[in-house]
């Protein structure tokens, strides 16, 4: 049964997820999204551009955070999601996406959720906030 607004407490943590950012999966994403820049799916080309390797597209990171919300609350409706791409997530790395409920609005039955993606070194590479409506 899907989570409801009344089930959620202020400060609740969403179960973290370890997103698949392997080269094969990022290529699936870039194909579906039409993002043809080689720096997203070719390590060698990314290094030629001065990057340490291929990088995960920012909008894929944002999609990972949306998926984090839906895995926690499949019936959630995302009313707004704002993400800041502080630093790249590397393809073939092992990031972790997390979220925590920072506010509840009883009138609109919406939650504010702070979102992050960290790399293996626990560096926060992507931050965001989402406004989410629950039944």
């Amino acid at each position: 049964m899907s989570l409801t607004f009344d089930d959620v407490d202020f400060g609740a943590e969403l179960p973290p997820i370890a997103p698949d950012v392997t080269l094969a999966n990022v290529r699936r994403f870039t194909t579906a999204s039409g993002m043809t820049f080689a720096r997203f799916h070719d390590h060698e080309q990314a290094r030629k551009e001065g990057l340490p390797g291929a990088i995960v597209p920012g909008i894929m990171s944002q999609g990972i955070l949306v998926a984090l919300i839906h895995r926690w609350a499949p019936g959630a409706v995302v009313r707004k999601i704002d993400t800041i791409f502080r630093a790249p997530i590397l393809v073939d790395s092992h990031p972790v996406a997390r979220g925590v409920v920072t506010d509840k609005n009883d009138e609109t039955r919406t939650l504010e959720i702070d979102l992050t993606i960290q790399n293996e070194a626990k560096e926060t590479r992507v931050v965001g906030t989402a406004t989410v409506e629950l039944p």
Binding site: I17, P19, D20, N25, V26, R28, F29, T31, A32, S33, G34, M35, G58, I59, M60, Q62, G63, I64, V66, A67, L68, H70, R71, P74, V78, R79, K80, I81, D82, T83, I84, F85
Partner: protein
């Protein structure tokens, strides 16, 4: 280089400088969602009666022009992508014909250790084939004044 933010706002915000059209294809909707790890069936299964694009799907769309012609370039180039804010309004369904209208929504500066950075908020407003608004995406681009370092 001195940045006159008020002049930039006055001269460049509030008008549509680009319009582009896209079609929401089933395979792309599924591929985008599943690659991100989405598991809710309304985003991953075309046979679901409520099948639709994930909320941030329109952030994949880029118009024909990133900035209006002759928009000043600080430090050269378009800068880098600092973030995106998506406000879904209505579902995007498979087969929808999406029209995107671009405008410069805001311009502001921040100054840090690496110098002054110019933030340009490129807003894309999306509507479907019935003219119904479906989403707004604010794309924050940053240009850095390398001469100030």
């Amino acid at each position: 280089m001195e940045i006159d933010v008020e002049a930039l706002k006055r001269d460049w915000t509030g008008f549509t400088f680009d319009t582009a059209e896209f079609e929401a294809l089933t395979a792309d909707l599924v591929g985008f969602a599943t690659a991100c790890g989405e598991t809710a069936k309304r985003y991953t299964d075309p046979s679901d009666p409520d099948f639709q694009a994930v909320p941030n799907y329109p952030s994949r769309y880029v118009g024909r022009r990133v900035l209006p012609d002759n928009f000043p370039r600080l430090g050269g180039g378009y800068g880098f992508d600092a973030g995106k804010c998506v406000t879904p309004i209505a579902p995007i369904r498979a087969g929808d014909k999406i029209t995107a209208r671009s405008q410069i929504h805001d311009v502001y500066t921040k100054t840090g250790r690496s110098g002054t950075m110019l933030f340009i908020v490129h807003r894309m407003e999306f509507s479907n084939q019935r003219g119904e608004p479906v989403s707004v995406v604010d794309w924050r681009m940053v240009q850095q004044d390398r001469g100030a370092q």
